[in-house]
Symmetry: none
Subunit: 148 residues, 2 copies
DNA sequence: ATTGACTCTGACATTAATGTCACGGTCTAT
DNA sequence: ATAGACCGTGACATTAATGTCAGAGTCAAT
């Protein structure tokens, strides 16, 4: 395994953490190559290209793709996400004003869901408790099956 | 428009708020009839049937469908939602003992999800904040008077 | 120069949720 | 009894995100 000076790419990598190829980005994020290309077609991410046409991502792309995936899991569409990214990357207030209500709406929905889940949670807890106390109540008796 | 004693259905409705037909449920929730039937096929909601085969929903179904739609908008699948609804709605404690471990598991999952949501929430909040602060930064020039 | 791993594009498939249409049955006011 | 507004099922279409496959080019190590 002669390791000569040849591995330029790795060297550059280590030196600056400069660019990623799509496969590396995929592994770094868990997103499939297919999906990353799809995000690009949707305008969510725009890699440079090498002479030969390979996509070239800078390291921020990892964070970017992770964010995209998080929002997708949250039920946002690529279209909506595109708005966010525009808003964050460029300083155009016009975009931001457009996009802000979407954020706020989503926030409201999330709050609602958290509330619901908390309610469900305590509901479940109650039920478990009542099962347990019933059990200890009837521990020595048998099969008295009542219902309210 | 002679309004006689005949409108039994309405009468019953007013008396007890008893049942809804699918069209009424649809209007009450904003979900399409198609979607409601889909939710049923996925096991998320199980209406009674009249003699003639019409679906008959009790009024809680409105809340139910609203919850389903909220979760869907948040990126949960009908399959995931099904689990929750079973826990909350299946209040028949006939098979509680068998179900207790399931409850506990569910509780754990719910806790996990709440945590995730809280994290996402603060992520969104940060982003909104950063938009706002950028805006107020640029606000110092220009007597732009916006606000809701 | 050849091989193997990687990339490119493009096409077709799939899954989930929903829309839409067609055809037929039900209910109710006239 | 008939019209009109519902409802039932079933089939096909569509959208978004992703999977998968095919044919061809690139790159790095031998």
């Amino acid at each position: 395994m002669s390791r000569s000076i040849i591995n330029l790419r790795s060297a550059i990598h280590l030196k600056e953490g400069w660019t990623l190829k799509i496969g590396e980005l995929s592994k770094a994020t868990g997103a499939s190559i297919r999906s990353i290309r799809y995000y690009e077609k949707q305008g969510l991410i725009t890699p440079a290209r090498t002479e030969s046409g390979y996509r070239e991502y800078h390291k921020f792309a990892v964070e970017q793709v992770n964010t995209i995936r998080l929002y997708l899991k949250l039920g946002l569409s690529t279209e909506q996400i595109a708005g966010f990214l525009q808003c964050v990357l460029m300083n155009k207030e016009a975009f931001c004003n457009e996009v802000l209500p979407v954020y706020r709406q989503k926030l409201k929905e999330i709050d609602e869901q958290i509330q619901t889940l908390v309610r469900i949670r305590s509901n479940l807890e109650d039920r478990i408790q009542s099962i347990l106390s019933e059990q200890t109540d009837n521990e020595s008796m048998e099969g008295t099956n009542d219902e309210h």
